[in-house]
């Protein structure tokens, strides 16, 4: 049974446990379950986008435009509900759909226009955050204060709880399950892997790889839309610059989760574990009295060390395997 779980995920799990023990010893409040569960709010946007960026990365692409789709959907939600006056749920739906639309634009240009994913999503990043700023500018809302005054129902999306479990944890699980089932339990998921391993081969075996690639970007855009709504609900106001610092954490979560940046390999479980690891680390460091500004150092070092030494690097893994099997031969 244990053999079936990928080793990397096990390592991540052990790391999370170790992290909890260490931070708990520094500050016993870290062991408080309520605080830990509520801390999900701080990184849920990162993990939601991370789940679906994982799909994109597995197809061999990359999506960095999610960070500005957060701001765009946040502004759209605020404008539609507070300025235009549409029902809050209607405006949330519109905002998420707009996120999907942004993803569709990315996906179509990348899959059918044959442009490098990095370039298009970079352009998209500028474009979508630009649109968000333009919307704020045209509507005459204060850029710094943002659009606030949301109804109680809306803020309960992120801040409410069911039977003591915060909504953010439930949302985390739901989004994880959606991504997990899509990637690991459906034909579509197998196609995503095949496309990432060898797009030509996948093409010849009758898979419409262009549609697969384009749809993965749509999913990523939709997830960024959801993240934008959740973040707006959590922070209580809509602003264009939400998420602008999430580029690094999102990619860290995906790569730390064991997904190969060149595509074809990886999984959502790793992304989920890595996002929890990163999120708890942030909380733990804050509780240990480290300033938020220094957390980048920890994530950066963690990223390099994990990618370089801990087995995501295929060559390293191969060498390790060779060493280990040799030992077995000697032993047996």
């Amino acid at each position: 049974m244990l053999n079936k779980i990928p080793k990397w995920n096990l390592t991540l799990f052990v790391l999370i446990i170790a992290e909890m023990i260490v931070f708990g010893m520094i500050n016993p409040r870290f062991w408080n379950v309520t605080i830990l569960l509520n801390s999900f709010n701080d990184f849920i946007a990162i993990s939601i986008i991370g789940f679906f960026v994982t799909l994109v990365v597995i197809t061999g692409g990359i999506d960095i435009s999610g960070v500005s789709i957060i701001g765009l959907t946040s502004v759209v939600t605020g404008l539609l509900s507070q300025v235009v006056g549409i029902n809050i749920w209607g405006s949330i739906l519109c905002a998420i759909l707009i996120g999907g639309l942004c993803g569709l634009l990315n996906g179509v240009l990348i899959a059918y226009g044959r442009v490098q994913a990095m370039v298009i999503t970079l352009g998209g990043m500028l474009l979508y955050s630009g649109i968000a700023i333009v919307l704020v500018g045209l509507s005459g809302v204060s850029t710094y204060e943002g659009i606030s005054g949301f109804p109680e129902d809306f803020s309960s999306i992120a801040n409410g709880e069911v039977m003591g479990i915060p909504h953010s944890v439930i949302l985390f699980i739901i989004m994880f399950l959606i991504a997990y089932i899509l990637l690991h339990r459906t034909k579509y998921g197998r196609y995503i892997y095949l496309t990432g391993i060898n797009q030509n081969t996948a093409d010849y075996s009758g898979i419409n790889t262009k549609r697969i690639i384009a749809s993965s970007y749509v999913l990523s855009g939709l997830s960024a839309g959801i993240a934008g709504v959740v973040l707006t609900s959590y922070l209580g106001s809509a602003r264009a610059d939400y998420g602008s610092e999430y580029l690094m954490p999102i990619l860290t979560v995906v790569v730390l989760g064991g997904t190969l940046i060149t595509g074809g390999k990886g999984g959502v479980v790793g992304t989920a574990l890595a996002s929890i690891l990163l999120g708890f680390m942030q909380i733990g460091l804050q509780m240990a009295g480290v300033s938020t500004q220094y957390i980048g150092l920890a994530t950066g070092v963690l990223l390099i060390v994990s990618v370089a030494f801990l087995g995501i690097n295929p060559e390293f893994r191969l060498n390790m395997k060779r060493i280990l099997t040799q030992k077995q031969h000697i032993g047996g």
Partner: protein
């Protein structure tokens, strides 16, 4: 006239044409935009991006990516700024800044070559690390009160042309000649075009990839010096997000992210276009918040047109080859 026709066919010429068109259109709406003074000012504000784009082009040519330039810029600017503020020698400050850039480049190169980390991830991690190091070094404060004589350096005029602009333009031309005319310079293109082939030819691929990162780091620290000189203070988030603008500038100028295609001149022109849009908006009396939307859509449109052109050229070439074989 085959030489002239060859120039017309170059990708950089199209970028240049676009730049001229931009100036013409904006100049048509507001003739002040075409004044020499404004052109000089546009060039001056784009110097920083040109220098960064030159370094980035080296890395992009080898098929890698350097996201850490913003962090390198900030760190070297902060270190140089504090040395100058505390009354240090200008040469000491400049050399320290360049050393910092070179060291960060070496670390990037080490990670990419020896640890075999994808350059995107390696430089992204270094970016966040350098940012924190900068915060620790400056204690989270802005570096201010930089002596006036250093700030004056960016304002020296010779024959009505800004000295710094002149140096940068001459530098870009020299780098271009190095990349396109010398055999060592061609290595960068060769590595990006076909790394396996380059190894077979006996090119020390790994060493040149490391060189490209070091050059990019040094260019970033030079840009940091320009930043200190032009702006006169260093905030903790100096150069935040600049790396993406620089990559966008390179792509606008026809440098391919896959590697092997592109020139330094094109990247520089791309940088000028991106900064000119800023000032163009001011002259056209468009609110500044349109800036990102326009740059982003411009980038996407140009890249897609490029890709379509390349695709059709490929198709045509394939057809020609097929015909030649059949006949």
């Amino acid at each position: 006239m085959p030489r002239v026709r060859k120039i017309f066919k170059q990708r950089e010429f199209r970028t240049f044409l676009f730049l001229v068109l931009l100036f013409m259109v904006v100049g048509f709406i507001n003739s002040d935009y075409l004044s020499l003074q404004n052109i000089d000012r546009s060039l001056k504000s784009s110097l920083l991006y040109i220098v960064l784009a030159v370094g980035m082009t080296f890395v992009l040519l080898t098929g890698n990516l350097d996201i850490s330039v913003g962090g390198t810029l900030g760190l070297s600017a902060a270190v140089c700024g504090t040395i100058l503020r505390d009354g240090g020698n200008i040469f000491l400050a400049v050399i320290t800044a360049i050393l910092i850039g070179a060291i960060i480049g070496l670390i990037n190169g080490f990670g990419v070559i020896k640890l075999k980390i994808s350059s995107f991830i390696m430089t992204l991690a270094i970016l966040s690390i350098t940012r924190v190091v900068q915060v620790i070094y400056t204690d989270g404060k802005w570096v201010e009160n930089i002596p006036a004589n250093f700030k004056e350096l960016s304002n020296i005029d010779i024959f009505g042309i800004n000295l710094l602009s002149f140096i940068v333009i001459v530098g870009v031309i020299f780098v271009q000649l190095y990349l396109s005319r010398s055999s060592k310079g061609r290595y960068y293109n060769a590595i990006g075009d076909n790394a396996g082939g380059a190894i077979s030819l006996g090119i020390p691929v790994n060493r040149y990839i490391a060189y490209s990162f070091v050059i990019s780091g040094i260019c970033a620290s030079l840009a940091g010096l320009i930043f200190v000189s032009q702006i006169g203070f260093v905030s903790t988030n100096a150069g935040a997000g600049i790396e993406l603008t620089v990559i966008a500038a390179c792509v606008l100028g026809g440098v391919s992210l896959i590697g092997g295609i592109g020139t330094v001149v094109g990247a520089g022109l791309g940088a000028i276009i991106l900064t000119s849009i800023n000032s163009a908006l001011v002259f056209m009396k468009v609110p500044a918040f349109w800036n990102d939307t326009i740059s982003g859509s411009l980038l996407i449109i140009i890249v897609v047109i490029d890709a379509l052109l390349a695709f059709h050229a490929n198709k045509k070439a394939k057809k020609l080859r097929l015909n030649a074989r059949v006949l």
